[in-house]
Structure formats: C-alpha cells, structure tokens
C-alpha cells in the first residue's frame, strides 16, 4: 500500500469511527473523505478480495443479499455494501468499515453497483464475476434508454475480460453484444417452447438486436422477459446453464419453485423475486456451493425478505408496497392476483421529485386486472389523486366500491372501517413515507426507541 493510500485509509477509517460513535451513522461520508485524498484507495483495499459485482436496474439489493446468504455457506465472512450505497464512495466506505481479511487469505466481497458506476468500480477493483439482473427503463431518468444503460454496464465489464458474466438469459439485451468474457445464463424454463406470441403493446425493449424486427416469445414471465426468439433472423434465447423448471406455488408472501430439479422456497412473493433467487443460485453453483446448501441459505435468514412488512392497524393486516414505474407496478398487480383472501386496495399517487414528476406511467400499469380480483373496496388518494382515480375508473373499477380521498390522514383513518381484514396500499415514494409517518404518529408503527 502506498503511503498516500495508507494515509487515505487511516483518514477514512477514523472518520468512520467518529461518525459511527458520535453521529450514529455513516454510510458514504467516510468514503468521500478517503477518495478525496487518494482515488486509488479502492484499488489498494480491493486487492485483498475476490469481488462479485451485481448490477442491473431492478432487484439488485435482494439479489445481492441472497448471494451473500448463499456464499456464507462456504465463506466465514462476506463483505457487502448493505446500506444500499452502490456508488463509488459508498463502496469505498464498505471496505473501510470492514476488518482486513486474515493475512495471506483473500476475502470475498459481493457489491451491488449502480449501472453508471460499474466502470469506475471496475477500474479500481478487478472483479471475478458480474451478475446482471435486468434492464428496465426508469421513469425517473432523463430518458433512461435501456440501450445506453446496458452500454454503461458493458463498458465496465470489458475492462475485466477474465471475469465470468452471469446474466439473466430471459432478457434479450444481455445477448445483444459480443463480450470477451466467459458467460453463463440463468432463466425460467417452466413451459414448453410451443407458443408464438408478442409482448403487450406497451412493453419496452422488443426489437431484435440483430435484425431490428419485433421479437416473439414462446412464453413471457413478465414485461419483456421470457423465452424469446426472432422469427425473422433466428436470434433466440441462449442455452440456460441454470433454470427454474417449475413454479409450484405463488402467494403474496411465499414462492415455491424447482431449480435444476431441486425444490426451493422463499418467503416472498413475485416472479421477479424468483429471478433474484435464481441468480443467487447460479452464483452459488459457480463457486462450488451445492444445491442443498443453497436451500439451507434461502431458508436461514428470512429477514432479508422483510421489505414488505405487514402493519397491524386496528386489527387490519396492512401491507404498503412502493410503486414507481409500470414494470414494478405490474409485478405488484401480479402479486395481488395470487392473494386468496378478499382484500381492500388503496392507490396513492404523489408527483414530487422522488416519486417521478411525470405521472403518465400509470397508464402503462395493468390496472384493468383489478376488477377481476377479490377486492371489496377501492380507495384512491395523494396529491395526484385525480390521475389515479381516473386510471381506476377507466380500468373498470365500479363507482359504488370506489372512495376518493385526497388527504392521506383521512385515508389512514378509513383503514379500520374497510370491509376486509387484508388491506394493500400501493404508493409512490413520498406518499409511502407520508403514510408511514402518519401510522407512526398514531402508534401503529413502532419507532426506533432507545
């Protein structure tokens, strides 16, 4: 380690120590201090680790957590950026907070990396493996074209041509460019390749990357993911090294499925989470962890699935789910379709910067599926309640079951009077934060107390 790097690490570590002990926090500030002194500090610190980078637009956090869980079956300590600091400085902080691996022994690190930060990270850390989840357009981005996002990721991957790329084989874009790297694919192969269909009209990324015709699918798992093929030029899904061959049961809180003939279950719903588990399985197998150990890993620490907490509001079981774009919303609607009990549905739309200031995307959500579900009452609210109210009206939600309540305080007050035990709230970011604040104030969510 150069003198400068050494000094940088010391400065970073002591600022972490200071923040941790006196400020009760510290995720990326120590990183800032360190990278100011020596931008190569990551390079120095990373030398002691085998690094796995997880990137893509959706599902990075849970995939990373699951990979860590799986790797713990083999490694005593797995370094990871838990706080969701997935840019350069946050990752520097991650290394600073860790104790050095035992002398002469390499540690292992699994890092969730923001798409645009893959290249600067790879310049410093020579990863052994990349894991790619998917690429969907993010409404918060300026234009967020899927092609530019993917290009950013592969600009980084190409700098480490020896690293193995473990990619979602059901995502055509991951098969669109030649890479110098060794590659393996994972995907869902639970249906026969007999059908020939196109994606719904409002689906992104359906142009064949080879001949620019519309790609077709034998089946679609969600959005533009599935067993794709191009009838025009023969471009098709690559061979899958790791595949889910059966989805046995889906509920909003549990998924059971088979990977390569082994039965697994995770305590979370949603097809997208089956993909996350599959990615973690693929990584585990690539580093020599066996299917039984992976099963053990998935069932050990259920808290990692704990994003969708259930809140008890005067006897009602309330689940708040964040929505921000059509793909995510459609996944949530898919999840609700697996609910076996009757429930009430609350849709809350804000349009502050953190929500996305353009609400047009709600028209790409498949709200038309809601009237066919066992929903006893609908309620819409938030700053942009007019938009979401009309969206549900157009979707065919009956007026007599639909309450309109712009004021979130009143929405929360309505919950105890809802006709069902289960209540699902779909909310954009700031609406969710506001509802949580109201629920905390009323004592339904226990704050962190000392």
């Amino acid at each position: 380690m150069s003198f400068k790097s050494n000094l940088a690490t010391m400065a970073g570590k002591s600022s972490y120590w200071f923040l941790h002990n006196f400020m009760g926090g510290g995720s990326s500030l120590p990183g800032k201090i360190t990278t100011k002194i020596d931008p190569d500090v990551l390079h120095e610190m990373g030398k002691n680790y085998d690094v796995i980078i997880v990137s893509g637009t959706n599902g990075k956090t849970l995939t990373t957590a699951l990979i860590v869980q799986v790797l713990q079956e083999k490694y005593d300590k797995v370094l990871t950026n838990k706080t969701g600091s997935n840019m350069v400085q946050g990752i520097v902080s991650t290394f600073l907070e860790s104790s050095r691996p035992t002398a002469g022994k390499k540690g292992i690190a699994v890092l969730e990396v923001d798409e645009a930060n893959v290249k600067p990270i790879v310049e410093q850390l020579r990863p052994k493996m990349f894991v790619l989840t998917n690429i969907f357009r993010d409404q918060l981005d300026r234009y967020g074209e899927i092609y530019t996002t993917y290009q950013k990721i592969i600009d980084g991957i190409k700098l480490a041509p020896d690293a193995l790329v473990v990619a979602n084989g059901d995502e055509a874009i991951f098969n669109s460019k030649d890479l110098p790297n060794p590659q393996v694919y994972y995907g869902i192969k639970h249906q026969a390749a007999t059908d020939d269909r196109k994606a719904a009209p409002n689906t992104d990324g359906v142009l064949c990357p080879v001949c620019q015709h519309i790609i077709h699918f034998h089946y679609i798992t969600y959005a533009n993911l599935g067993d794709y093929f191009c009838p025009h030029c023969g471009f098709k899904r690559p061979d899958l090294k790791f595949s889910v061959n059966e989805i046995s049961a889906k509920t909003p809180t549990n998924s059971r499925f088979m990977i390569d003939g082994h039965a697994y279950q995770i305590e979370i719903g949603g097809t997208y989470n089956i993909y996350n588990a599959l990615a973690a399985y693929a990584v585990g197998r690539e580093v020599g962890i066996n299917p039984t150990q992976i099963k053990h890993a998935f069932e050990t620490n259920q808290r990692i699935f704990g994003r969708q907490e259930e809140i008890n509001v005067a006897g009602k079981e309330v689940t708040i789910i964040l929505v921000k774009n059509p793909v995510g919303t459609n996944q949530v609607i898919d999840l609700l379709a697996t609910e076996s009990e009757p429930f009430s549905f609350i849709g809350l739309l804000n349009a502050n910067y953190a929500d996305g200031i353009d609400t047009s995307w709600i028209w790409d959500g498949e709200f038309e599926r809601l009237p066919n579900m066992n929903i006893k009452q609908f309620e819409t609210g938030g700053k942009r309640y007019r938009d979401i109210t009309l969206r549900l009206q157009v979707a065919g939600v009956p007026a007599e079951q639909h309450r309109i309540q712009p004021d979130l305080e009143k929405v929360v007050a309505d919950i105890p009077n809802m006709p069902t035990k289960k209540v699902y709230i779909l909310a954009t970011y700031t609406a969710m934060m506001q509802v949580r604040a109201i629920l905390t104030k009323k004592g339904y969510i226990k704050g962190v107390k000392k």
């Binding site: 357009r137 009209p201 620019q212 519309i214 028209w363 938009d387 157009v394």
Partner: protein, 234 residues
C-alpha cells in the same frame, strides 16, 4: 344504429414511452358511455396500414433507437397515412410521432431523419437541454385549456397550413420561444403533451372522439350523444 371506432395504434409496440396507450383506453372509456364500440390494433414494422380500415389513429413517442427504426418503416406507410389524414380522420401524435409527421427531425445524436411531410413542421435539436415540466395551454378556437407534462429535447417549428394546438400559458411548448404548443392540421393533432393527453384532458378526448364519429357517419346528428357524455378530465 350501432356505432364503432376502429383505432390504429401506430407502432404501439415500439412507440409507447410514456403511457401513450392511455389515449386509447380513455377513448374506449368515453365511447362506452354512449354505446360506441372501440376496437384497437397495433400496426407495426412491415405491417400494412390501410387508411380505409381505420377511423382513428394514435402515434406515440419512443426511445431514440426505436424511433430511428420506425422512421424508416414509416416511409412505406406514407401514402396511406396521408390519405387517412386528408380524409379528415383524427390522428393524435405525441412527441416522436408528432415529429415524424412533419418534414424532418434531428435526433439526440444529431442525425437528421426525414418525416413523411404529412404536415409542414420540422424539428431541430437543442444542445444539452430539455424542456421538462408541467404545461398549460389554451386553444384559440374553442377557448379550452389543456394541461399535461412535457419532456423533450426536440424543438419544433410550425409550417404552412397548420396552427398550434394552443398558446402556452405555462411551460415551454414547441420550441420555448414562439409561445406555441403542438400542431393541428385538419383533424390531426401533434403535441408534446406526454402520453395520455386525452386522459388528463377529457374535453380534448371527447372532441376527438366526435370528430371520428362525425367523419365516419356524416349523416348522423350526434348532439344528443354529446350531451350524454360525462367528462372526467382533471
């Protein structure tokens, strides 16, 4: 007598960046109120577009890559699209779709791509700047106000035989300088209002719906139906 509107969703699988499909859903919503059937079909790459097979068309915006592919294919549908427009059939074109109906447009990478010159506007590109935000305009002929959201880097200038959809009261509009937004030629409307302009502006949706009906059924008096419609714009 039963009435129907057949919608062509032009390149609906490639040009649907911002909920453009909402325009069709909303058209169906209002049509249902008056017992009019709406059917919709995506007309995409290498597919035949026949003016006589449709009464209404929706043409949305897309990502740059998709738009460059569509711009080429659109030339093969040029003749029939111009015929459709000249027959006074309503067409709502948003962002990229709006740009392509004009003479030419320059994309984000500076490439100049020909439109189909069905209308006379043209679109240049501003550097390192986008017009993003809420927009409010007022239509000179009807006095109606329309509101929506714009997000575009292209700057459009109107040409002969077309007039703006509205005068900008708040926001940027076509080019941020001349106070115009959108373009109207016959019953075709081009606009930068994102995706569901017809959702947020029920008055505009209903206006376009009756244009389609009156063009298709010139001998029918729709006055009573017009009074029946409940506008839920917001």
């Amino acid at each position: 007598m039963s009435f129907s509107i057949r919608v062509a969703h032009l390149y609906g699988d490639l040009m649907n960046t911002y909920g453009d499909i909402g325009n069709i859903l909303v058209l169906q919503f209002y049509a249902k109120q008056i017992g009019v059937t709406v059917t919709s079909k995506v007309v995409s790459l290498e597919e035949d577009f026949q003016a006589d097979a449709y009464d209404f068309a929706v043409f949305g915006g897309g990502q740059d890559f998709e738009q460059s592919i569509v711009a080429k294919d659109l030339q093969t549908k040029k003749k029939e699209l111009i015929k459709f427009i000249e027959q006074n059939k309503p067409l709502v074109a948003v962002c990229g779709g709006y740009q392509m109906l004009g003479k030419y447009y320059v994309d984000a990478e500076g490439r100049k791509l020909p439109g189909i010159s069905a209308m006379n506007h043209y679109t240049e590109q501003q550097h390192e700047h986008r017009f993003i935000g809420d927009i409010l305009i007022k239509n000179a002929a009807t006095g109606q106000e329309y509101h929506g959201f714009e997000n575009h880097q292209g700057v459009t200038y109107l040409g002969e035989n077309e007039h703006p959809l509205g005068k900008v009261l708040k926001g940027y509009g076509n080019n941020g300088t001349d106070g115009t937004e959108g373009a109207v030629y016959k019953n075709t409307t081009g606009t930068y209002f994102h995706g569901p302009i017809m959702a947020r502006n029920g008055n505009f949706a209903v206006h376009m719906m009756f244009q389609a009906l009156e063009t298709k059924y010139p001998d029918t008096d729709f006055t009573e139906m017009k009074n029946q419609v409940q506008i839920s714009g917001y």
